[in-house]
Symmetry: D2
Subunit: 346 residues, 4 copies
């Protein structure tokens, strides 16, 4: 059994890692950390994780943790993750970092958007961006995987074939995303309280959300040139799920069926990407609790615009499920191990 | 007291008219129609409308209804409204039509999008599009007002100053809207049932929604040239509210504060439009149950794009509240009569 | 215009007072306090309260507040209210206290359940329990009204006729209540965050909730003897509303229609209590945002049990609406002034 | 691989059977029926069931179905199930009936509450009530299992130890249950539409719900005498989950800890029943999507009452998960096979 440590296990990314790994046949969670909840049982915070009723949160003491695990999942806040990732990586462990600290390959862009220095630039060069649909071969050989952000995962999967095949003008891209509330984390804030969120609906951080440069980095890499995008996130009163509606001006004279066939071909072998038939559009309800990404699209010939819609569960394909998928690829396990659950509907 | 009849009173537009008019000091509802619910009490369908516990649904018998009311609110389905509107209008009554039948001034466009002929083209010419922020003077003199659709109301109010002042390239406009479920009406459909809708989130009718030509008609009129737009509606599991996020390429070198000051100036005297300060964005929660429209905006200088977000309650400012506002303007009443409620929060 | 001060205006009871009073024709809010939010505008916390965009929170400085208002609504936390209430009362003002501090006439019971001493026992003797359906005559003459708790309001209105008429064995009473989340207040707590609450459902504080002695006090007063009850509150993921399902063993041989006619008779003149016809049961949805209490009931002849269900909006009839109703009674205003809104549905 | 047929697969019980069985290592679904949806793919109705994208609904033709499967799960409406169950049972198949048709051992009681005759009284005698916690030995030997109703499952598990050990007066029992909306089934009804249900909360069918005699049958069997109970179901706007709050007058002088230790002992070996520690109460959120039943309890010494609260997912432990558990017991499989999922939180 592969031994797993989870650093930062008191948030939703951590609890989802525990839930998903509980069904994985080849691993065992041997340690989970939390500064605030050190000494508490996992089930004190998450009464549903009954299989972990003997697992106790411990403080993140790197030297003590090192011998306990073969793979480290890091679910720490941004900036806090840098040093711990570097430590376990340099000690030869495999590391999957769910924070943003190793996602942006250019440390200057990281520093500009996250307002904090990057102190481990050499280690940063070793990190592979953990989207198997784009980088499976690199992930297989990697020891450090930067797990993508939730919005970028949905946006990039929606845009990848269109940009790769030169279907749309990369300068025209608009990403309008709608997220469930778990994306904001597990926090004590009035703004996140039920009565402030429920029956509400709003845009936030328009044009300045930190996932913007991450989407731009990957879109630029696909396009082979620097691209800037518009990204507008919205909050929707549901627990889980992200819909990303992306728009781009068509460069080719194609209809919906043509573009669909390109998308279906490119994603044909992907175990977790489903391209829907014409006139079908995804619903976060149909991916909730699962690692699937659903994609539907439409060419609007009146306006010469491609509209692609993707749906993911932000905590699974957008975070912890993707992290386990990355681990499976890194370890040579069956890629779907631990991730076979269908969505929970209704 | 002005006597009011509501034709088509068993849906949410009808029940909201009853709710709102119950607080209006100058009117009295004398008749309400429903074919299916004829003979039932209003409170059988809507137990909260306790002030109407003696009002009984009757079938829509035009001759019988005519002498009962001075103003007719028509909340019938599209196509079904045409003839009844024409009848009451020709008999000299004031008519406010909440259906789409008299919104599109070009009957060919109506027939193309609604797949049904328009049989009252002369009456159609008399109809005024009922958005007081744009057409107050015309509404004052009108006897037939076509009450705008819910999505168009939010989208047009968001776009009006930007297009009027030539701030954005009208050919680049994208309207990405998110609506609560009451917009779909009061119907027995599995797709609208709680368990299919709750915790879901999806786009629908991408590029083909019937509110598209309505937005285009009004945007074109403001711009002074034919404009086509992208319009993507989404369904969000809340009862009420629409957020419209609209995008346009900036034609002028301005920042957010500049554009905000233009918006504030243009809407300065509007009783129901609120422009939010910089870095504030609207939330449907803060307009729920009220006739207000909140607008926030941002100039993204990285991408040279204006992003405007509007929030309305689709059943109030997006339907029945706006209809009462139109009545107030037509009758010379105080424009806010019956519409003084603040939003219900939480 | 009667001048109103609201002490403790940054919670939901406070914001609801402001919302309701904005429609009241005879009053004007001249001051609102909050320690944490002093200096902020009311609309900074509650963007929907647009009519109060010039009202600024101030600290609760009793001497400074005294000359500003004729009536003081106190929406402070329990214990914190005692002294301020006493001060304004002794200075001759009319006071309506929404905290629990003056509800329990026996200070020993207060001290037992609230774990804090009561330091104003003489003033406590002057307080009238503010349920107009039971104590209208006393409220008319009172200068200090203790506004009932949300659960007690629903439970007492459900039980009053049954106990008054000796229909049920007072020793057998069970009150099983289900509340929306706003009842927990406006707080930054993980346990109140959207993702912890949404799609959840639970009982809490079984047998030890502080509203227990308040219900017992009033039920005992009606019955003319000491009564203890079972009270179990539950949390339901909705913003507003309380359903109280109360059970009592029948002492008389009656059927549902018999009991309904007793309830209808006793509440015949009450402007805000609605007894539903047989086989109809209340829904919080139909009272949301309104000051109504709906009551439905059933005699289960198989088990010889009376089951009564009441529905209120916990923030209106269960708090701020009731407080305004009490003010109306105290001041000799029309009892429904400011409270004419029908429920907001859907 | 054991071959499974699901009769009545277009509702939520059917879709949940498919979801759960997709993870079961020893079975294969070979047929699924639906009259209305015959010819459609399972994924047309349930886009999340991607592993069944080749499974097509067929009409329920008993002769054609017979050779296709070893075990038949019957998820037909009440009354419709009688004949089909009888047919497959007599042909030697193992049958698990999720309808109510074989739950009530006394056909007269069935006929009284379900207003329809029972035409297969001999087969009825062979049916075992499928609650493994009470009848595991009988289920092991059974060929026909009547899968319990959702409310009875939660109520009986909450009451079983208390009645078995004589802790409470069986005549005093009140069961106050709160259910998510999926319990009402997958139907096109205005009353089940999102806008009618959301933000609502109500009691329904007070004293006359058909699960009443089912709870009474099992409670009576445990008590060894005829017992009648009060049962009040409520609807809560969540997708899944039932909280049952049960009340009984204590016959013994015990405190909470004493009763908890009895409950823990009786359920010690049950894989799916979790007794919570003192002062902890269950939340449907922590069992959602899982087969667990959580139980918490309190002895109220002031009123001499035991209050027990149970939480289940009505579609899993209250329907399809329990059905799979019953199949596992009948077939000698590991009892938790296919049921190892932890709850999906948040």
């Amino acid at each position: 059994m592969l031994r797993i440590a989870i650093c930062g296990g008191s948030g939703y990314a951590g609890s989802e890692l525990l839930r998903i790994l509980s069904l994985h046949p080849q691993v065992e969670v041997t340690a989970v950390t939390s500064e605030k909840s050190a000494g508490k049982k996992v089930t004190d915070l998450f009464p549903h994780l009954v299989k972990y009723n003997r697992l106790i949160y411990e403080p993140l003491d790197k030297e003590q943790l090192l011998p306990k695990a073969d793979v480290f999942f890091m679910a720490l806040p941004h900036a806090a993750s840098q040093e711990a990732v570097d430590f376990f990586f340099k000690k030869g462990r495999k590391v999957i970092d769910l924070s943003a600290d190793y996602r942006l390959s250019d440390p200057l862009i990281y520093e500009e958007w996250y307002k904090t220095p990057h102190n481990y630039k050499e280690t940063l060069k070793k990190a592979v961006y953990g989207l198997p649909e784009l980088y499976r071969k690199d992930i297989k050989k990697a020891r450090l995987v930067a797990n993508p952000g939730c919005y970028p995962t949905g946006a990039i999967l929606a845009l990848y074939p269109a940009i790769k095949e030169g279907l749309i003008d990369a300068k025209s891209i608009i990403v309008d995303s709608k997220s469930g509330i778990s994306g904001a984390g597990r926090k004590a804030e009035i703004a996140l309280s039920f009565c402030e969120v429920n029956e509400g609906l709003k845009a936030y951080r328009i044009g300045v959300h930190r996932h913007t440069p991450e989407i731009e980095q990957e879109i630029s890499a696909i396009a082979g040139k620097k691209i800037k995008i518009n990204f507008t996130p919205h909050l929707v009163p549901i627990d889980r799920g992200i819909i990303s509606t992306v728009y781009g001006k068509m460069l080719k004279d194609m209809n919906t069926a043509d573009v669909l066939s390109i998308y279906k071909k490119i994603y044909a072998k992907e175990p977790f990407v489903r391209i829907l038939d014409e006139n079908n559009f995804p619903n976060v309800k149909y991916v909730r609790g699962s690692n699937y990404c659903q994609i539907g699209l439409k060419v609007n010939n009146r306006t010469n615009t491609l509209i692609v819609v993707s749906a993911i569960d932000n905590l699974v394909k957008g975070a912890s499920g993707l992290a386990v998928q990355n681990m499976n690829v890194m370890m040579g396990f069956e890629e779907t191990a631990g991730l076979k659950d269908l969505a929970l509907v209704p």
